[in-house]
């Protein structure tokens, strides 16, 4: 065996001998490393391969972003592209081999077997060529299939093919009914391909003559594949200049938006997921640092206890580097043991993460199905284990070589004291631990509070007794407005007649449903310019039945609510939320004013504002509430809407009655997303719940690790000062004096740590408060309660060793020398 083997053997023996400290260190490292490995698995999925494409890093997503008042774009609001804009790009851009577009679409597969709604995407013919993926069976779409009338082909996703067509190998070429029309199956994609997530099928994207000229109707997502050798920045710059030219050419439609080219991976994951992933990565990094500081402190104590051994080794010819190697091997052994347990913890953590995510949410999350402890996670764990070993071992072993070997070896025992630099470093470590733990605790506290604030907002709806469901009226059958209005009126009436259903309402967007995806639409105020301070006047536009406000407990603040007599024949009216009033009618009475959806010259009617209602919150993603305009469902009956029912009792038990009530009005209409409202809400915030829960756990771990650190340092220093304490007590110091002596030492470290941690935590809090609804940076709970908690735990951690010091028998302590 080489000399390294010898060092390892000795290291193992040393660790086995100091069993308690070894267990503490391994546990601390296991917690730290486990959290990092688990987070790495998530980050790998979200940041490194969120899309199932080989060439994802060559693909650029070309989306728009509305420009805010201050000229910056809202990163989160990514808005699609209008057809004419897209067609221009295809002609003008030179940096890309392919430019392609897709649009969300939902299909009703009718005929045999039972009707089924599937998530489909309309895609340009070159879509699959752009992402360089071949169908498993059949072919891609052809260029001529982009023509209206020739576009009735469908490519099936693997899962749909398996489930609905029993993996029929001869399915290609068959005709199926889609929304009543005949479509030809031309291909089947390979297993696992569901891009854009969560695609179940693809159909051709075609534009009619009118659509080809559209610049203000944005509904396409555009992707470009960079030519080989063209870097992202170059492609992005070219597109920016094209977009700039378009804005100059078509200011009416293109102003107020800015092109926002992004690498596909970033676009697929989305900014919020990315931000929260980075947040959690930072948090687990902090936890690992705290664990390393703990281990470093233990190593310091150990090295100090072993000065004589190390001096003897030096006298026997060990060079400084050999001594450092010996000590480093020991701390790397420690962290490898920590990593072994850490992998178990990570496995468990990943299991929890995967198992608590509702599948209907997971299918929208890019990269979700690739989360696992794979070989990369394993390598990562190994790497951070070795790194932690080095980080926690290097300072102690380095400082060792400070000591005067000849002193230590002299017989008087004079040399055994520790140098001041070592004391200082141990104190620095504890201070850093406390500062880091405080930052984490405050971050966790704020997130949990923000999350709680969201729950409180929801409680206002009493969602536990509400059922929601969505339907979409076939365009052909319900082309006429009165037909749609009649359908809703009859359906609502029948629903309300179900026993123990208190009321049934209609709304185009249910808050929190579909990820809260209620987009804002520009509108015009009579007698006003279309823009204010460079910002388009815009609002969420809801179409509701009048009882919606009461059902959702949305309060009236002025004027009147919509009512059933606001119908086709009467004056078009609207209610507005308070934000519309305060933002667009400051100091004015909006009631009686006229507004119109879209531009002055757009088709819709001018609506008279008749009432003001409370704002509501549509999604946790929005930091603030958004302005909302409510139209009457009889005056603007939508094709697509949600029914909302307030029930007495568990809403899910009403589903059969609700289905038959709707079927009584239109037997062929499929209902989807039939869910209790509280389920809709929890699904919409489950991601945030994850972040909050993880942060809370990490904060707790940080608290425990930091107190272990303080405890370790204090009990070590008590041990070191045994003689001093004995002498003091022999000289008449009372136990109170001794207690004060030790506590003062420990508490001053805590206070310095908190003094450093608090400003950091405040900065962190500002970051968070810009990220999340309901989080205020200056939060008394986070900045008073949590620091007090930390101080309390730290006091206990100091008190325990101090008590041991008090119990010392002075004579025994003196003999100890």
């Amino acid at each position: 065996m080489g000399t390294i083997g010898q060092d390892i053997r000795f290291g193992v023996r040393m660790l086995a001998k100091h069993r308690l400290t070894t267990v503490v260190c391994v546990a601390a490292l296991a917690l730290g490393i486990g959290a990092n490995t688990a987070m790495f698995s998530l980050a790998e999925a979200f940041l490194l391969h969120p899309v199932p494409l080989e060439n994802a890093n060559r693909i650029v997503a070309l989306v728009y972003s509305p420009v805010g008042a201050n000229g910056t774009s809202f990163g989160q609001d990514q808005s699609p592209v209008a057809p004419a804009t897209y067609l221009d790009w295809k002609k003008e851009a030179h940096s890309f081999d392919e430019i392609t577009a897709y649009a969300w679409d939902e299909l009703n597969l009718t005929g045999n077997p039972a009707p089924q709604k599937v998530q489909a995407f309309k895609v340009s013919a070159n879509f699959f060529e752009t992402v360089q993926v071949q169908p498993q069976l059949g072919r891609m779409f052809l260029a001529e299939e982009e023509e209206p009338g020739k576009d009735q082909e469908i490519i099936l996703g693997h899962a749909l093919w398996e489930q609905r067509y029993a993996s029929d190998p001869h399915v290609v070429g068959k005709n199926i009914k889609v929304g009543g029309k005949s479509f030809t199956i031309v291909g089947v994609m390979a297993k696992g391909f569901d891009f854009p997530k969560p695609a179940e099928a693809w159909i051709p994207l075609s534009f009619d003559a009118k659509e080809r000229l559209q610049r203000d109707s944005r509904w396409l997502f555009v992707l470009g594949r960079l030519k080989p050798g063209v870097p992202f920045t170059l492609g992005a710059a070219e597109m920016q200049s094209i977009a700039q030219r378009q804005t100059e050419a078509y200011p009416d439609t293109n102003k107020g938006f800015r092109l926002y080219p992004r690498p596909l991976e970033e676009f697929a994951t989305g900014d919020l997921t990315r931000q929260y992933t980075f947040l959690l990565l930072g948090a687990v990094g902090f936890v690992l640092l705290i664990a390393c500081a703990d281990v470093a402190n233990v190593q310091f104590a150990r090295v100090t206890g072993r000065q004589k051994e190390l001096a003897v080794r030096t006298a026997m010819g060990a060079s400084r580097s050999r001594i450092i190697r010996q000590l480093l091997i020991e701390s790397i052994l420690l962290s490898l043991a920590g990593a072994a347990f850490g992998l178990v913890i990570a496995q468990w953590w990943v299991y929890l993460i995967l198992n608590h995510m509702p599948p209907e949410v997971a299918r929208f999350i890019a990269g979700w199905n690739t989360i696992s402890l794979d070989a990369n996670a394993f390598l990562f764990t190994l790497a951070i284990a070795v790194a932690s070993g080095i980080v926690s071992g290097i300072a102690p072993s380095w400082l060792h070589s400070d000591t005067q070997i000849s002193e230590t070896l002299k017989e008087s025992g004079r040399g055994a004291s520790t140098g001041p630099s070592r004391h200082r470093l141990r104190s620095v470590l504890v201070v850093a631990e406390i500062a880091l733990a405080l930052v984490l605790l405050v971050g966790a506290g704020l997130l949990v509070k923000g999350f709680r604030a969201l729950i409180v907002v929801h409680e206002n709806y009493h969602p536990e007794s509400v059922l929601t469901l969505t339907l979409s009226l076939p365009e052909d059958q319900y082309r006429q407005k009165p037909g749609r209005a009649a359908f809703y009126a009859q359906t609502l009436e029948r629903l309300a007649a179900i026993p123990r259903i208190q009321s049934a309402a209609l709304a185009t967007y249910v808050p929190y449903a579909n990820g809260g995806g209620a987009g804002v639409t520009p509108f015009t105020i009579e007698g006003r310019a279309p823009e204010e301070r460079g910002e388009a006047i815009s609002s969420i536009v809801e179409t509701v039945s009048p009882n919606y406000f009461r059902l959702m407990n949305i309060g009236l603040r002025g004027g009147r609510e919509l009512n059933e007599s606001d119908a086709d024949a009467t004056v078009p009216v609207a209610d507005i939320s308070r934000l519309v009033a305060t933002r667009y009618f400051p100091g004015e009475n909006p009631i009686g004013r006229k507004i119109k959806i879209g531009k002055v010259d757009s088709e819709g009617a001018w609506m008279t504002i008749v009432g003001i209602v409370d704002d509501i919150h549509y999604t946790w993603i929005n930091k603030q509430e958004l302005p909302t305009i409510y139209r009457s469902y009889r005056q603007a009956p939508p094709f697509y809407g949600s029914l909302i029912l307030r029930a007495e009792g568990n809403p899910i038990t009403f589903v059969p009655a609700v289905r038959s009530a709707v079927a009584a009005v239109d037997p062929d209409l499929p209902l989807f997303d039939v869910l209790p409202f509280d389920k809709v809400i929890t699904d919409s915030i489950v991601g945030l719940a994850y972040v909050a829960a993880m942060m809370a756990i990490l904060g707790l771990i940080a608290l425990v690790l930091a107190s272990v650190g303080i405890y370790g340092v204090m009990s070590y220093s008590v041990g070191e000062r045994t003689h001093e304490i004995g002498v003091r007590m022999a000289m008449g110091a009372t136990s109170k004096d001794v207690l004060r002596l030790i506590l003062r030492n420990g508490m001053s470290l805590t206070i310095v740590g908190m003094a450093i941690g608090l400003p950091l935590a405040l900065g962190f809090a500002y970051l968070l408060s810009s990220l999340l609804f309901g989080v205020k940076a200056a939060d008394p709970f986070a900045f008073l309660g949590l620091p007090l908690l930390l101080a309390g735990v730290a006091t206990v951690a100091c008190y325990l060793p101090a008590r041991r010091a008090v119990r010392l028998d002075p004579l025994a302590a003196l003999r100890y020398e």
């Binding site: 023996r13 003897v312 006298a315 010819g317 400084r320 050999r322 005067q404």
Partner: protein, 232 residues
């Protein structure tokens, strides 16, 4: 013949709170290869300090020091360490065996720091266990040995790498006289076989084993006596 150790005006100072405190004053010494020298003197005279300078564990002093012709005062830490590793063995009053290593492993230590290959290490350790008659103890830990046995291992550890020079700081200080004598006999044999030895002792009996006694006091060399009445 070139002296093994040659010192000229070697001085060592401690500085504490601005004031200087001389521990060794203008030491000039010559020690020949094969010599057995004793340092004596009252407590605090600087004997141990001088020994660790000779052993190159302590590098902060002024003056000139040649070891085997090499100017130690001009060597950097690494070179000094190599010189020390190759030529010098230490024996301590309180043995300084490593508690967590067996006798066998303790003996292996100096060899492993010289990167002696494993096979050779084992055979050297076995030889020395044999020579010192402690084969039966090889798997015991130091706390399972008597003081005399521990010091035996201590000496064995010092000689295992066949050093030119053995430095021993009160090697029998913690031992009964019988055990002490056994160690001194060992030193005598080693010296006769050619190893130079420098010891520090308070005992006249032990001093009688050496060729020359050098007296130190307050950091000065106060006398040198050649030992005519050497125990034979």
């Amino acid at each position: 013949m070139e002296p093994l150790i040659q010192m000229r005006n070697l001085e060592k100072v401690y500085e504490a709170g601005g004031s200087k405190f001389y521990v060794l004053r203008r030491i000039s010494l010559d020690i020949q290869p094969g010599e057995f020298v004793t340092f004596m003197g009252p407590s605090g005279a600087g004997k141990s300090t001088l020994l660790s300078i000779i052993g190159m564990l302590d590098g902060s002093w002024t003056g000139e020091y040649y070891f085997n012709g090499e100017p130690v005062h001009r060597l950097n830490v690494k070179k000094r360490n190599e010189l020390h590793k190759a030529n010098i063995g230490f024996v301590f009053q309180s043995y300084h065996l490593i508690d967590n290593l067996t006798v066998f492993e303790n003996l292996e230590i100096p060899l492993s720091y010289k990167n002696v290959p494993h096979k050779e290490r084992v055979s050297l350790v076995c030889d020395i266990l044999d020579r010192f008659n402690i084969v039966g103890k090889k798997d015991l830990f130091p706390n399972q040995l008597s003081g005399g046995q521990q010091q035996l291992v201590g000496v064995a550890r010092a000689v295992i790498q066949s050093p030119k020079l053995i430095l021993a700081d009160e090697p029998t200080g913690n031992l009964h006289s019988a055990q002490g004598e056994e160690i001194m006999e060992l030193f005598r044999k080693l010296n006769e076989a050619g190893t130079s030895i420098i010891q520090v002792t308070h005992s006249e009996r032990n001093a009688a084993y050496s060729h020359r006694v050098i007296q130190l006091k307050d950091g000065w060399v106060v006398s040198e006596t050649s030992n005519a009445a050497r125990v034979v």
